[in-house]
Amino acid sequence: MSAADVVATVTDPELPMVTLAELGIVREVRETVDGVVVAITPTYSGCPAMEAIRDDIVRALRDAGFGRAAVRTQLSPAWTTDWISESGKAKLAAAGIVPPGAAPRRTTGPVPLVLGTRAESVACPLCGHAETERISAFSATACRELRRCPACREPFEHMKEI
């Protein structure tokens, strides 16, 4: 197994149904004479899972026989939900978390301020109702938001497009 294969098996500590690779946060796995160097991109600057992710990667590599491993943080280009793979999105959906649609793209000018509900329509994962409402832009983690279905009244989580 290559170091990249080993890193590809490590799952996210807060979303254990997907691997770090499926989440699109693994930028590079490089085998050097000084050991393996892995570059990962945080989903958010303050993501508290980064240290656990780093430990998990180092442990997986060590258990697979790679002696030394260093994990580095790559900030730029900033992570976008567009990097979540199709298999990752399918696994999120299977776990009841509605996967993100295409991330918004801004060309020039100021960041637009959205005061009403955001334009994207997110269908209810439970009953299929097309329009749902946001309860909160933040949920158990910064990358998810809390929504509610007006038809079946059930709350659910949606991964925000960024």
Partner: protein, 292 residues
């Protein structure tokens, strides 16, 4: 060893250097961006600028954390905690960069925990206490309407680390501004009582607005060198966003009135910063060299 047998032992029962929690005493080395300081730049000046933006985020984050367990609803508890966490992440990156550029052996922990109030460079808006939830969202709105265009312009900085921090932060502060704006609208355009309290909160925060757009000499020098953002240039975008929110909230914009006195950018702070630091630095000061 299982958690049931010996909880403390289970936390430390491993044969590598992984830890059960990370508070201090670790660093996140960067990849993908050159960390060398562009040769023509004054290192002390760049370090001072990183401290300014880092201290804004650190102090604001601490104020947000103080709302955890006191928010009106669980959803707001989560939102405020997440916003505070985003800003803490930005603060760590900026203080880390400040220490690296300064080259005097101070890391992010030393800068956060071992400086006195007079050495902090945050704008005074960040340290203000909040009399009620309306004051919090008013302050968060002003802070975010100012920081968002700042980080957006920082993406063009000649310092590659600052540019990368800006690019990451823009996405986050977009959500912070939206959260604060929606609460200001809900309370302003709500009941008579909520309108009155929201108006009082906007009036109370407004004297702190002027300082945000005063150009410090460090900012002026580095803006001329293509590294920093001159905050004076941010005022039109700030005014535009504030007008949009206040109109929707049926609130009028207060008259501009700058608080007299020296700036937080020069280390002049109110007693409120001392209170924040007494809480934030207590453990680090009581246990020198301690890691948790």
């Amino acid at each position: 060893m299982s958690f049931d047998d010996d909880a403390y032992g289970a936390l430390t029962d491993h044969d590598d250097d992984a830890r059960w929690a990370y508070g201090t005493g670790f660093a996140d080395p960067l990849a993908g961006v050159p960390t060398a300081v562009p040769g023509d730049l004054d290192r002390a000046c760049l370090a001072a600028y990183c401290l300014m933006l880092g201290d804004d985020a650190l102090v604001m984050s601490h104020r947000l954390q103080q709302w955890v367990t006191r928010a009106p609803e669980l959803e707001d508890e989560l939102a405020i905690a997440n916003i505070g966490l985003d800003l803490l992440g930005q603060a760590r990156l900026l203080l880390g960069r400040a220490g690296e550029v300064e080259g005097a052996g101070r890391d992010e922990d030393a800068l956060a925990y071992l400086r006195d109030a007079g050495e902090f460079r945050n704008v005074r808006l960040a340290e203000r206490g909040d009399a009620d939830f309306a004051h919090l969202v008013a302050r968060l709105l002003v802070f975010s309407c100012w920081r968002l265009p700042l980080l957006d312009r920082l993406t063009a900085s000649r310092d590659p680390v600052l540019a990368a921090i800006g690019a990451k932060g823009v996405k986050e502060v977009t959500y912070h501004r939206e959260y604060a704006a929606q609460w200001v609208v809900r309370l302003g355009d709500g009941t008579d009582d909520s309108h009155r309290r929201m108006r009082a909160a906007i009036d109370a925060v407004w004297p702190a607005v002027g300082e945000l757009f005063e150009t410090h000499q460090v900012e002026a020098r580095l803006a001329a060198a293509g590294v920093a953002v001159d905050p004076a240039l941010l005022r039109p975008e700030f005014d535009e966003a504030m007008s949009q929110v206040l109109a929707a909230a049926t609130l009028s914009k207060p008259m501009d009135a700058t608080e007299a006195g020296p700036s937080g950018r020069d280390g002049a702070h109110g007693p409120e910063l001392g209170e924040i630091l007494a809480e934030m630095q207590e453990l680090a000061r009581a246990m020198p060299g301690g890691v948790w």
